[in-house]
Symmetry: C2
Subunit: 453 residues, 2 copies
């Protein structure tokens, strides 16, 4: 009997998050005020986020203590097991050992609660009574719904309309955890009403949903906004994944040749990889790979520029790979990973040559996902299928090169609430889709008016 | 930071299942041939089950080795963590420590793969190429679909029509794992066609779905039938749950005052409790409690009698608590736990005074389940909500009695694919339902023609 996983006991859980800003060879370009073109100060963000979170977002400390109450909630499913994918290895027949962090065991079924729980905690500590957010495929919205319930906060989630309709179980899950879930664009906000007037049949986008959630937060009492990815503090909360993986690999005396994650806004990718990027900065020979969809290829094809985080231009300008804040992803795409921009920290790390990215088409991602489900049992989320497709690539490359390789990746979540996408794939209803070149040209035009990072 | 769970490493997984037949103070009444009224022999069952499984069903050995290949698949999610439900304890405010086995972390989201995997394995070992089965809410059908895929067997699942329609994600999950899923009653079998002719609008029942699956198995080449609960060998495979729990509780120096499980056919209840029933037989002071629905109250209200396992009378007669093989559960009931009979071993153990049972109405079970989800995060399956309601009862009783108690229960599965039931509950569409007395009288009439156990 070969062992399949490395488990840590509760008392072995890491007590600090890792802040990569302390180790960057060149600092991250700061967020800019769109009016002045100057770096924003904490006071500019105070209507949107509580000050304790803002302080973490700009912190240059390497290690940030995880509060005991947050650890207590993490222990509901953390430390997550580090698995070896023996059956998938056998299926591929390549000279690789494949290890993965199983983030699908959380109550919400993905890595998202790693960030939702500290966010709800810090908002409650700051005296906030209600959070708003947006969600695409619904992983983030459900995670925040659960976290708010745990810390006694009210919660409203603006959900991209096409996902709201395609994935009714996500709305039901948020309701079960006591949150409101509103299809976006909605008539509840000025941003939503303006967008609906111009595009009455819009499937929605994360850009407009963010505008609605931010507007709701800044115009309502005792309310703040939460973003489920992209921002520095969110990425830092997710580093618990990589820090646990480091401990677990150490226990079995293994170090990875390549570390992979799928990337939409960038948080689960950063979560698994930043502790290893740190090693790379300090000279370690390790490759770091992000997997994104060909329908929303921000790192692989979009310009690196200052751009807004949302459609209604309510956020500061962020330096990132961006398809333009006015990007509306094709509804043809079945999974999440639809955000127009990539986290500034992830974009920066790629610019510094510390990480690379590859894009995968949805047919090849579902092919990889079904192979996974039929060998390893667990059905991956459509987002996770992207990184599995990249793992298949890495394994084949190892075979071609005749080299043995150790692969570590983040299995970011399960697909049990996304089965309609599998149904569409298995019945031949999903199609190939590559973002047309005109969309990249539009992104360059959209961002050309802003300062260059 | 208080610890929340006890984990076992892969090498600590139990290597044997526990067979309670070796410890019963009086033996289990044998299955009878309906024609002769005599105990059935292995050859009578050979068209339905492979001989290696039949041998296990009647074995009197206390410990049965778990094959290495089965252990290898178990390790995908086993040993399952033993949790302490600290948040739920706090919510209840009663003098209890609540421990539970988290069986919702398996790829199928429930305890069912514990039995599906050995069943697929033993059938493959016996040279079988295809399995048929039935499923109610879908937990069993999806588990067998996964197991068959893992061992290279074809799989067809007859799913009770009302569940097939209410729970489309279950069908999609079975398809993702490569199985066929057919709504029952279907026109593919004589049993299905006969039933449809008499009841064209029937919501279906487990009784008729079993008839279809058995008929398919005995009339198709290289095909056998698999049952997901009720039978001795199925209950034995599930004892891995209780055996792990014993080890985990020993590690923290705790022994339970009461052990609980929800009971439909009886397999998860037996799985968690039979190792503790063994202790009770040997004099230990521990209470064993089964929680069933008031809509399908076999242990608490139905006669103990010989009856068929299916509607079309294709099975041997089994000695059990039974609502009659012609029972059709009310479609008003949102969860699983709809089988007309209770496992012979569970029925026998209750008759011997080694276990007790209580029935819960669906409104109180969903009330308990929503409280659980909002404190502990994980959303329980509707079936699991029954045992949570029983845990609430036990906790309140401990408070009334002013006694401290340790509770152990089996959290049999998550409800992420059953969210429509939560949606119905939260929007006030679920109603109270108690099985009318006439149904009990009918069960007594139905079984009066058979021998008395």
């Amino acid at each position: 009997m070969d062992e399949t996983k490395v488990v840590l006991s509760d008392h072995e859980i890491p007590r600090q998050w890792y802040n990569i800003q302390a180790d960057l060879p060149t600092p991250l370009p700061p967020p800019l005020h769109p009016g002045t073109g100057q770096p924003v100060g904490p006071e500019d963000l105070a209507p949107i986020f509580p000050m304790n979170i803002i302080a973490q977002d700009v912190s240059q400390e390497r290690w940030i203590d995880i509060p005991d109450e947050v650890l207590g909630k993490y222990l509901l499913w953390r430390p997550s097991p580090l698995y070896r994918a023996r059956n998938f290895e056998k299926l591929l027949g390549c000279p690789v050992k494949i290890y993965f962090k199983h983030e699908g065991l959380s109550p919400a079924g993905s890595h998202k609660p790693n960030a939702a729980i500290p966010m709800a905690y810090y908002n409650r500590e700051f005296g906030i009574k209600r959070l708003t957010t947006e969600t695409g495929a619904g992983q983030w919205g459900s995670a925040l719904a659960m976290a708010c319930q745990m810390f006694g906060l009210a919660c409203r989630v603006y959900m991209v309309r096409v996902s709201f309709e395609q994935k009714p179980y996500r709305r039901m899950l948020m309701n079960t955890w006591g949150a409101e879930c509103i299809p976006s664009p909605s008539s509840l906000t000025v941003s939503g009403r303006d967008f609906l007037a111009a595009h009455p049949d819009s499937p929605g986008s994360l850009g407009v949903a963010i505008s609605e959630a931010v507007e709701d937060a800044v115009t309502s009492e005792n309310t703040r906004y939460s973003l489920g990815s992209v921002l520095n503090h969110v990425l830092m909360y997710q580093t618990i994944i990589g820090l646990e993986a480091e401990k677990q690999l150490e226990k079995i005396g293994v170090y990875p040749d390549v570390v992979l994650g799928c990337a939409g806004g960038g948080s689960n990718f950063a979560g698994v990889s930043f502790p290893f990027v740190r090693d790379k900065i300090h000279g370690k020979d390790v490759r770091i790979v992000a997997a994104e969809p060909t329908s929303c290829p921000s790192i692989t094809r979009a310009p690196y520029a200052y751009d807004f985080g949302d459609l209604a231009r309510k956020t500061p300008l962020l330096a990132m790979h961006t398809l333009g804040h006015d990007f509306v992803p094709a509804p043809i795409h079945a999974g999440g990973l639809r955000y127009h921009g990539m986290a500034p920290l992830v974009s920066h790390v790629v610019r510094l040559g510390l990480a690379e990215a590859r894009a995968y088409n949805q047919l090849e991602t579902f092919d990889a996902g079904v192979k996974w489900a039929r060998s390893e049992g667990y059905v991956p989320a459509p987002e996770t299928n992207h990184v599995i497709a990249a793992v298949v690539d890495e394994a084949r490359r190892a075979k071609e090169e005749g080299k043995e390789k150790v692969i570590l990746f983040n299995w970011s979540g399960h697909g049990l609430i996304d089965l309609t996408a599998y149904d569409a794939y298995l019945s031949g209803k999903l199609t190939q889709y590559e973002l047309p070149e005109e969309e990249i040209e539009r992104a360059i035009r959209t961002t050309s008016a802003f300062p260059k990072p």
